[in-house]
Symmetry: C2
Subunit: 346 residues, 2 copies
């Protein structure tokens, strides 16, 4: 309404009115100028990254592909960035978080149905043999998830995951698992989004295990989470529609399954990808072995003191082939100990 | 830089400077006020819809769920809208566009491999029996797509679809198929997006058949297209990664498959859904039989003159159960003839 007052009084305004309006208008004008020009120049988008090669190569790439007029400019709709989850966005040691969930849930199942105690894999679970469980590997775990997670609706499962995350604690850090997301990677996700990228998770983990919490933890909404899944079926129960989780693997989004999952769910090849293990090898190839500017990084776990140190020999998050391939593909290997100022939020 | 000039000269400004600056600042201020207040009030977001019940009930719902402070306010991240494609966003008569593509492609295959001419379904195709092909129904067509579309990479398939759409013409309207998208629905999609909704296609059609053109036709990017799919596999050919299309159905996104597809790809229940056939029945149930404000509409093909008139008996796009269920579910049945001012863009 203010513009009307200005224009209707214009010709008859007296001096004090004019002065007051001048300051009001100038204030609005100044506010506008500051908003438009100041923040970009002064804020470090990656404060938890140490200055140096890794940080600079990320920001140099992002600036290069997002600056209007740059020879390597990538239109905003093509700015797809895909991130592995376990070991890339949050801690995956001493076992995948989802494995801990499976372990606890299977323990609950044995409690309410003691007949299960003599059958594998429940037997090693009852014996408290977490190492045996971890040794199943990602695909084995996905199958165990299927066995322990069917016979309920998707809505029930979502509640189960959310409830578990409220109370479960990491065995070493004694914090909720969702506290153990990597602050430098959370900043990287936010930085990419601020630069027009659409950020996706592409994980071997179960898609329904991740979706209840990824928006809060990473700013990534459910529809941008790609993961492994079990078969499901729709059913109308009276007038209430439900989707049942069936005891059957539908898709394993790991290794060569990651480009397949990216193609199926996203339908475009990423411009930027991040992983930490051989399960990400094909996603990094699919991203970078393409025309135009592309970027891939590997989170290398080198910090036994603040997190964990592991790579070629690890049961969980084995990084061997992808580490060999990194130099000739030009993939950035992030040295957690050297490149990250902070690992977790305080 | 301008704010600096103002503040440094402030105390010593003479009258003519002050007047000039006043007008500059006032102009900026006015521009700001106009930008913020004028456009919403004057633009009809749905100009191709006739005034009346259908249009009003759509806009009333959208205003109700997007107005801050409304009892039915839906936060922006929950504003998921899903749209069927064939018969809901573009013409599906006299056969699904993808069926016409399959027909033409199978004809090409017989030309380059005459041995196929005696085998079904190639036999009825060679005989020019388009009715037999249409009678296969949506699921049969998806399977035929699998049979005719394997043995190539996803990149090759995308080019094949794009090339075909450049030259193929609708048999009655003699226009490219992508010209036969419904202008009122394109406006509805844009209106929802302007109100913070994220719009998705959830179609029985092949996802890789739709993705090459949905962004241009509807403003819906590849990652927001859910559809039927065939199995695929990743492979590194030298240093070139490819994804091969395999001759096997992976997922049929139709009927009860639609809520399953929505759960798998989107991971949230829609607030708004649109369909036109019994293949959309379960999607409309999944959307509306839920707590909170929900909206569903059915495009009823009632206009034989400008498009087609069909419902309960149709081979393609049969609308029978969903039409029976609409009144008791409160679904809006859009009467194409009465409610739409325009069908296609001129």
């Amino acid at each position: 309404m203010k513009h009307r007052a200005v224009s209707s009084q214009g010709p008859t305004m007296n001096a004090s009115h004019r002065t007051r309006r001048f300051f009001l208008a100038a204030a609005a004008f100044l506010a506008l100028s500051f908003t438009a020009s100041v923040p970009q120049a002064q804020t470090d988008p990656l404060p938890s990254w140490n200055e140096g090669g890794a940080k600079s190569s990320i920001t140099a790439f992002v600036e290069r592909v997002t600056r209007q007029g740059s020879a390597d400019f990538v239109p905003v709709e093509q700015r797809i960035a895909t991130f592995d989850n376990d070991g890339t966005l949050w801690t995956e040691q001493p076992m995948y978080v989802q494995a801990a969930f499976v372990f606890d849930r299977a323990t609950e199942m044995v409690k309410s149905n003691p007949d299960l105690a003599d059958r594998q894999p429940f037997k090693s679970i009852t014996a408290g043999d977490r190492a045996a469980l971890a040794a199943l590997g990602e695909q084995g775990l996905v199958e165990l998830v299927m066995a322990t997670h069917s016979g309920m609706t998707t809505a029930d499962f979502e509640r189960t995951v959310s409830d578990w995350l409220e109370t479960a604690r990491h065995p070493r850090f004694n914090r909720p698992y969702t506290d153990l997301v990597y602050q430098p990677m959370v900043e990287l996700l936010a930085y990419l989004r601020a630069k027009g990228f659409k950020t996706f998770i592409v994980s071997g983990g179960g898609v329904e295990f991740m979706r209840p919490w990824t928006e809060k933890a990473y700013g990534i909404p459910p529809e941008q989470v790609v993961g492994s899944s079990g078969k499901t079926a729709y059913r109308l129960e009276g007038d209430t529609p439900v989707i049942d989780k069936l005891p059957s693997v539908e898709f394993v989004d790991d290794g060569p399954g990651k480009p397949v999952g990216i193609n199926r769910f996203i339908g475009r090849r990423p411009v930027f990808a991040a992983g930490n293990s051989d399960g990400d090898l094909q996603m990094l190839q699919w991203t970078t072995l393409n025309t135009g500017p592309r970027f891939a990084l590997i989170v290398h776990h080198t910090d036994a003191e603040r997190e964990y140190a592991y790579d070629r020999q690890s049961e969980v998050g084995k990084l061997d082939k992808a580490l060999d391939e990194a130099p000739r593909r030009g993939w950035l290997v992030v040295d957690m100990k050297k490149d990250w100022k902070t690992i977790y939020k305080p």
